[in-house]
């Protein structure tokens, strides 16, 4: 071998090192630069500031950015059910673009390969555009007679970090140890990280981290870590964000020529109709029979449930004994509920104890137990906890 050979091959090796460094630079820099970028703050101060920032005149700051949602819940492989199905959010990684102008100006776009789904809200009206079906749906949001105030909260915006953060914050009480990290970084911005760790031993949740922007206190990221894994089991957050008012044309929508235009009114009116009544009835009945065992992070919900109901509802055969509006109907079209059910049940392990016997479905964050005497127990707890809960009738 010539001496020059080594020198020569050093060039591509150096190139590979540079590329590898460029790919890995983000996380490494964030981990290495441990200096607090922000002044120290207690959890209470931070929360107060955050609440003040969201409640101030004019609402939250206008912003736009890219939100990425990643879940690795350790679910059994779900049958692929179309990208638009909400079930697809349970695994893999998804990206939406968000433009937020004011409390009533919002655009959420979900880009997919050569397709795009858009939700645009501007004042009292909204548009839902689906390029795959070439359909524009005009949404009229009823004001006043609905329980939602002047700021309508559409379903897809459940995906913005704000809502998720609020939901998690509601759990923070004596069951939770709260601390604040002030040297983290999300989407290139210094953030405060509010770390909530459950005190209960039986919980599957290691900790929940909520990142609040250091300047505007807008929640930028929510991460849920399961016990015994370094990567978050669920993560929702901005990968890119700017706090400048987005261009006005983002919030105006005119249906393109040739598109199908439909109209829909969102409000309580949707809930009228026989089916909705049945749903409500069923939900009421379930709610009255359901109970919660344990408290805090280790609470387990016990719901009366029978497998035959679900199977009947899922297959769509109108069984006389089946409860009207069984849980199977909640699965969206496009997903095959039967296939989903089969694949979930296949992964379930049969368990038994002094409390009886049943099937256990275990994921990284949630454990579910379907007992043979017709109860469904769900909780973010270890299998031992859930069988203990099954024993307390």
């Amino acid at each position: 071998m010539r001496r020059g050979t080594f020198v020569r091959w050093g060039v591509p090796i150096a190139a590979a090192a540079v590329i590898g460094a460029a790919i890995g630079a983000g996380p490494v820099i964030a981990a290495v630069s441990g200096e607090p970028a922000l002044p120290e703050r207690s959890a209470a101060q931070l929360l107060a500031d955050a609440v003040a920032a969201t409640n101030k005149e004019g609402g939250a700051a206008p912003m736009s950015g890219t939100v990425q949602q990643t879940s690795s819940l350790g679910l059994p492989a779900l049958p692929s059910s179309g990208s638009a199905s909400p079930l697809s959010l349970l695994s893999g990684s998804h990206e939406v673009k968000v433009w937020f102008g004011a409390a009533d100006k919002l655009r959420v776009a979900m880009p997919t390969q050569l397709n795009e789904t858009n939700l645009i809200l501007n004042g009292g009206e909204g548009w839902y555009w689906d390029s795959a079906t070439n359909t524009a749906t005009k949404l009229t949001i009823k004001k006043g007679d609905t329980h939602t105030p002047a700021t309508p909260v559409p379903q897809p915006s459940d995906l913005t970090p704000q809502q998720v953060a609020e939901r998690v914050l509601a759990h923070a009480d004596e069951h939770t140890a709260v601390r604040v990290i002030n040297n983290a970084e999300v989407a290139g911005r210094p953030v405060y990280q509010l770390v909530l760790s459950p005190k209960e031993e039986g919980s599957l949740v290691q900790e929940v981290r909520i990142a609040l922007d250091g300047e505007t206190y807008v929640p930028l990221q929510v991460q849920v870590y399961a016990k015994g894994s370094a990567e978050p089991a669920f993560q929702l957050g901005f990968t890119q964000v700017t706090f400048t008012p987005p261009a006005a044309e983002n919030f105006t929508f005119t249906p393109p020529p040739g598109a199908k235009v439909e109209e829909k009114t969102i409000g309580l009116e949707d809930m009228r109709g026989k089916q909705a009544e049945q749903h409500a009835e069923h939900a009421e009945r379930v709610a009255s029979e359901a109970k919660v065992v344990g408290d805090g992070w280790a609470s387990v919900a016990v719901i009366p449930f029978s497998l035959s109901d679900l199977t009947a509802a899922a297959t769509g055969t109108p069984d006389a004994s089946a409860t009207p509006g069984g849980p199977g109907e909640h699965f969206g079209e496009g997903a095959d509920p039967q296939a989903l059910l089969d694949s979930v049940l296949k992964s379930a392990t049969p368990v038994s104890g002094t409390w009886g016997s049943g099937k256990l479905i275990k994921t990284k964050l949630v454990t579910a137990l379907l007992t043979d005497d017709g109860r469904l127990l769900v909780g973010a707890v270890t299998p031992e906890e859930i069988t203990k809960a099954a024993g307390t009738k």
Binding site: M1, R8, T66, W129, A132, N134, N250
Partner: protein, 329 residues
């Protein structure tokens, strides 16, 4: 390798069919001799202008070599047939959509968009062609570049001329890049003309549901051509690197195609979702970012960075291999 060395050192360096590294090194050095030979004679006087003159001569030689390479590439019947086939695909797609269009209600949105506007045919054609057919054309030209010369026994003549290996490699790569852009432009033009003939022209509806004027649409097509061409240039770098490892050009061509197909298979496996962003073909279809409102510059920049990384990595591999290789044929 050692036998080649000993052969040249003992023999008269006139062994037919054998151009070892040392000899081509010497031939390259010879061209630079006038610039560096007499630095002591006149440190300020003649060396600087003669250096500039030789540098100018070198650049001229580079462009002349590139010109002759391009002439060869675009006169080769094989390459012209590939261009013609690629130009025919948008026509076939357009005619099919024209015949099918309007009758069926259950069509996808993008098909309907084509039926409604002539410019959309370009994007649809690209979305079909970038997956397989365009990579085939590019890997044939780029994979053939070094291996074809080696297999045909002409590589040693190219290296016997005082061209230098790095320069020859650069010329070969630029040649492949020009062909890649030619392929992209031909597809775009063919699709544009077919679209204008078969479908109504007018304001373009984007994926986001907004409408833009025709001129804006043409600008977006130009951006697409630039982006897709860059992606094909990245693929050409891989084919060139493989081409330096073999003397059988079909080996380099097939190797590149196998890589492309393996990448497509890997992308289809959901469990491997974490590696797909790093695969080259994943970025080929990112051009649909121009069809969004506003243009998703982040996705385009991300794709271009990936292309740059691939070009850097495989370009240096090709250089390291080719500059240290004994040419035995």
């Amino acid at each position: 390798m050692s036998t080649a060395e000993s052969a040249t050192s003992t023999a008269t360096r006139r062994t037919p069919g054998l151009v070892p590294v040392t000899e081509t090194m010497r031939t390259t050095e010879r061209t630079e001799e006038p610039a560096t030979d007499h630095p002591a004679a006149g440190p300020s006087g003649p060396s600087a202008p003669s250096g500039r003159r030789s540098a100018a001569r070198a650049t001229w030689a580079f462009w002349r070599l590139l010109g002759s390479e391009l002439g060869l590439t675009f006169r080769r019947p094989r390459n012209l047939v590939m261009l013609a086939v690629l130009a025919a695909v948008p026509v076939v797609i357009g005619v099919t959509l024209r015949l099918v269009g309007g009758s069926d209600d259950g069509m996808g949105g993008i098909i309907q968009a084509v039926a409604g506007n002539s410019l959309m045919l370009t994007f649809v054609s690209f979305s079909f062609l970038v997956l397989l057919l365009m990579p085939v054309a590019i890997s044939v030209v780029a994979g053939d570049s070094i291996a074809g010369e080696a297999g045909g026994g002409t590589l040693r003549y190219l290296l016997a001329a005082p061209a230098g290996r790095t320069r020859l490699l650069a010329v070969k790569y630029l040649n492949a890049v020009v062909y890649a852009y030619a392929v992209t432009a031909v597809v775009a033009l063919s699709a544009l003309l077919t679209g204008l003939v078969l479908f109504p022209a007018g304001p373009v509806t984007l994926l986001s549901g907004t409408t833009i004027p025709v001129l804006d649409g043409l600008v977006r097509i130009a951006i697409t051509v630039g982006y897709v061409g860059a992606g094909m240039a990245a693929l050409a770098a891989i084919a060139l690197a493989l081409s330096t490892f073999t003397e059988v050009s079909i080996g380099a061509i097939a190797g590149t195609m196998v890589l492309v197909i393996v990448c497509q298979v890997l992308r289809a496996i959901p469990e491997l979702g974490s590696i797909t962003p790093y695969l080259l073909p994943t970025k080929f279809t990112n051009f649909d970012a121009v069809l969004r409102s506003p243009i998703d510059t982040g996705a385009l920049a991300d794709g271009l960075l990936t292309f740059g990384a691939y070009i850097l990595l495989f370009g240096t591999i090709a250089w390291a291999r080719f500059s240290g290789k004994d040419i035995t044929s």
